[in-house]
């Protein structure tokens, strides 16, 4: 509860800090959402993507 109080008085109480919170939150949200989405996609298509089968076709340099 003390944390919520601090968050409220520090971030949400003023419109300016609320807006900054939203923008900073959007930056982090974008990163997490995009990377999470990519991870889910790769998990669902495991073994089918080029990155997963590339080693079979790469010519080894001796």
């Amino acid at each position: 509860m003390a944390l919520a109080k601090t968050v409220y008085s520090l971030l949400f109480r003023r419109t300016s800090t609320f807006a900054v919170t939203i923008i900073v939150g959007a930056v982090f949200f974008e990163r997490i959402f995009d990377q999470g989405g990519d991870a889910v996609f790769e998990q669902l298509n495991r073994g089918k993507l080029w990155d997963h089968i590339k080693h079979k076709y790469e010519v080894k340099e001796e």
Partner: protein, 277 residues
Amino acid sequence: MMSIAARRSAIGTCLQFTKPTVNASVFSRLVKDFVPAASANGKVPHLISRVNHIIRPVRDPLLSSQFYFRSEFTGATGIRLAHTDIKVPDFSDYRRPEVQDPNKSSQDSSEARKVFSYLVTGATTVVTVYAAKTVVSQFVSSMSASADVLALSKIEVKLADIPEGRNMTFKWRGKPLFVRHRTEKEIATEEGVNLGELRDPQHDKDRVQNPKWVIVLGVCTHLGCVPIANAGDYGGYYCPCHGSHYDASGRIRKGPAPLNLEVPFYEFVDEDTVVVG
């Protein structure tokens, strides 16, 4: 409110009363005459007779010569009905659990409720901002050239194929591209040109990255003909259409053309290769 309208001739007896307030006896006569239902039993209802009423002339817009009289009385002429059978709506489904109890102070929970409200608002806005940003950036990037178009817009020139003192022409984005391998003598001549005698003053070092190589578009700045290399009075390019002379740096020296030959964007990938575009 109840009002009675009558023609002057019909209520001529009442016209003597010019005061706005007419006493109850006059009014009861009026009511008897013009509202038969109200005085069916010969008596004016008690409620109505006690109300002050106003007789005032009303000018009829259509029959301007006629006066109408209107008697209005305002006040409690209706009966107030009991409405205890109407249910007060119950909004407790829509209220936060913290404020359901009317005997508890809502101040204690105000902070928590505000935090919740702003958290929900903020989270929604964050997602909206992300969605809006994605839509806009997708739209903008859809307008830029795709990778295959970009790949076609560049050409790679092998410089080893061009001997010193020669000029080679390539096709780049539908236009001729001149790549010239200059001799030491030409470099020295072009660097020593006095800028004051140029029509479009530009120093040679501003037009080349490597003084050995001059890369210009082969389009005459006059009317767009393709100049001939290693010709003309200045040993650079000569446009046969209207006789413009360019020097070995592609600068206009003589003739009708107003500007120097255009230098495209290019970069040297290594000693031997240049990528234009």
